[in-house]
Assembly symmetry: C2
Homo-oligomer: 210 residues x 2
């Protein structure tokens, strides 16, 4: 995180350049704003102001606002992938590890709902234009596929097409994540937690051998 001391906009002397990794600073600041105020609260002018930089300085590093948002989404998929792999490894690459992956996934979405929404919400139109984003998203999904294949080898889950099976699991977990962060479950009720436990149990039954 490249931040000014105390999080305040830096005082700027005339004629001075940013002279740091402005690209990095822009992404970090955008992420901070998105986490705090959502994507719809993200303005390039405010980002520039927070970094004590002109509101058009950004165009040296990003072609437009969408491309900045895409960079934020990319970071999200990267963090998500690392979280998933850590959970899977921590619990020993088996049934428990798979369940931990699900929990890690939901924990990510609940901790950073706005960030999660940016990753999936079609804020980047035609992702064909951002192959790095597609690649990062596929990397996160691959962690799930790998875990499925590993369990198939151990005879822990049925031997269907692992990609299809992983997509099914992803749907469940993504569905719960979205319903939770979009406030579709009764609030202040522990509903998300109970649903995720129940879903985990039913999901295990769905992917069981025979």
């Amino acid at each position: 995180m490249v931040s000014s001391r105390g999080g305040r906009p830096r005082r700027k002397r005339a004629g001075q350049y940013h002279h740091g990794d402005l690209r990095r600073a822009l992404i970090d600041q955008a992420l901070r704003t998105i986490d705090k105020h959502g994507v719809e609260g993200l303005t390039l002018r405010a980002v520039g102001e927070a970094l004590a930089v002109s509101r058009t300085a950004l165009y040296r590093h990003f072609s437009d606002k969408q491309s900045l948002i895409a960079a934020v989404a990319r970071e999200g998929f990267r963090t998500l992938r690392l979280d998933l792999l850590a959970a899977w490894a921590r619990e020993g690459h088996g049934e428990a590890g798979f369940q931990a992956m699900g929990q890690a996934y939901l924990a990510f979405a609940v901790a950073r709902p706005s960030h999660y929404r940016v990753m999936f919400g079609r804020f980047v139109e035609s992702k064909a234009c951002d192959p790095e984003l597609v690649q990062e998203a596929e990397g996160a999904f691959q962690a799930l596929v790998d875990a499925v294949v590993a369990q198939q080898r151990e005879g822990l889950v049925r031997r269907d097409d692992p990609v299809m099976l992983a997509r099914f699991v992803w749907s469940v977990v993504h569905g719960i994540a979205m319903l939770t962060i979009d406030g579709q479950l009764p609030p202040d009720d522990g509903a998300p937690g109970r649903l995720s436990r129940y879903a985990s149990e039913r999901l295990r039954a769905a992917v069981a051998v025979e």
Copy 2:
């Protein structure tokens, strides 16, 4: 649909009022715009222009843009509920009916992705402010719960808490819907269709008795 002939903005004579059900016309026009250009493409100015009305006429019927969007979301939940009930009834209130509900749900989302996104996407902050929207959303969910209870009576699905079971099913179907309309499945591949068939089969296993 209250439309001008040919879909063109109507010519307007000076001093003339709209004198129809402007509220209704505003919702229809907003829905049309959202379906065509997404929520982010919705501007109150364009809505007014399309209806040959001042861009502030809207404020007589809605407190702000959000409240117009909320009305569109409400319509969506109503249509979704009717679609679900029709599918359930058409296939005879059993296993086939339940599967048809799932297909109807996905068909709705795929046919009107932007509308579907508006229904769930937190465009209305703090839905407590729009109790009618909450009510309509709950109505759609209730159709699902009722179908679960009916199947439990027939011994077709396990006798867990029907609300919890319905939330689980909803998660799966909502997850597939979102991944599909957000372009997270490989395009031009029939992947959404195959996933939905596979998920339907696995889901049946997940909710089966014993």
